[in-house]
Symmetry: C2
Subunit: 196 residues, 2 copies
């Protein structure tokens, strides 16, 4: 009976120590914040396939972005066709890494829904995709299309986009090859307290 | 001796069960993705103080944003002075909730560093701040200044901003009051596969 009590005590102590560690970890670590700080531009990708579930998570994350007056002006063009990735990567020099990407998401805005803010809302969409990718170990990079007319013309022609659909960014996606480390861009001189 | 072995076995079993649960939780849940999907605009705040560490995390997250050609055109104006929050909230109708905010971050861009993309880069900065706030249980909302000239004039005059410093957004911050639920904005009709 005495040994049973001792056993119970040991088990409870061990369990509460683990529980306590977990709580401390939860306070010390913030996985979302870590994802934000660890995000980096990844431009080299393996041939490993991005699963459908992961792609869907990227698309859900995209549309969880805020938008001016909740107008939600986004349209998302998913490219998984390898020949198409090759072709577009060949034409669009700023996104040449499409040629070794597994997939891509092209973030577009509908100017009939938001003529004055689509590019801001779609920037939040793009950032959500980049962060969701980072959180799943998927490499990604924001290659700008807007505000460059020459790049916009290439993408619009490739997909015969309607006049009201503008392209903000092309995001090549794939599992990273090589070592990719985030830049530490924190600069205290950029912070101003209560006055300029 | 036998009871010691049994004890050890019980402790090991209990510990591995806890460890296993933790791992399963880590696989099933993606805290960063959850943060992205749970982010919501919060406009009512309690009087609870945002600790300095949390504020610093918001500022670190802000500057972890990507920027066009890595030009990092951001400047961050932190408002903690309550009289100033009152005053600006009174003048800037779109950010009237500043009057009950605990703090605010005003996201600005330097056009001498990036004349053509500062508002895109600063949108990514703003989204990072909103997500970092969500991850720490802090309420926040993107109140647009750019591209509205009247709002920009109010903020620029309040802080006597130099000509090259443009304001993208004012983000009031505070611990949430009341129930705030994220909108489900996922819309499969906005997704296009390989062609428009």
């Amino acid at each position: 009976m005495k040994s049973l009590k001792i056993m119970a005590l040991i088990v409870i102590t061990a369990l509460s120590s683990v529980a306590c560690n977990r709580q401390q970890q939860g306070e010390a670590n913030n996985p979302a914040l870590e994802t934000i700080l660890n995000r980096k531009s990844v431009r080299d990708y393996s041939t490993k396939e991005i699963p459908e579930e992961a792609l869907n998570n990227l698309l859900k994350a995209a549309m969880a972005a805020p938008s001016s007056r909740d107008r939600r002006p986004w349209e998302l063009l998913v490219i998984s066709d390898k020949a198409l990735l090759q072709e577009l990567g060949g034409k669009l020099r700023s996104a040449s890494m499409l040629q070794n990407a597994n997939k891509a998401i092209i973030v577009c805005g509908d100017t009939t829904l938001s003529d004055n803010c689509w590019f801001l809302d779609c920037s939040a969409v793009t950032q959500n995709i980049l962060l969701a990718a980072e959180s799943m170990g998927i490499g990604a990079v924001w290659t700008a299309v807007y505000p460059y007319d020459d790049r916009a013309a290439i993408v619009s022609e490739q997909f015969q986009l309607p006049e009201n659909i503008k392209v903000l960014a092309v995001i090549p996606l794939g599992y990273p090859v090589g070592k990719n480390t985030p830049k530490d861009k924190f600069d205290a001189t950029r912070i101003h307290y209560n006055k300029w």
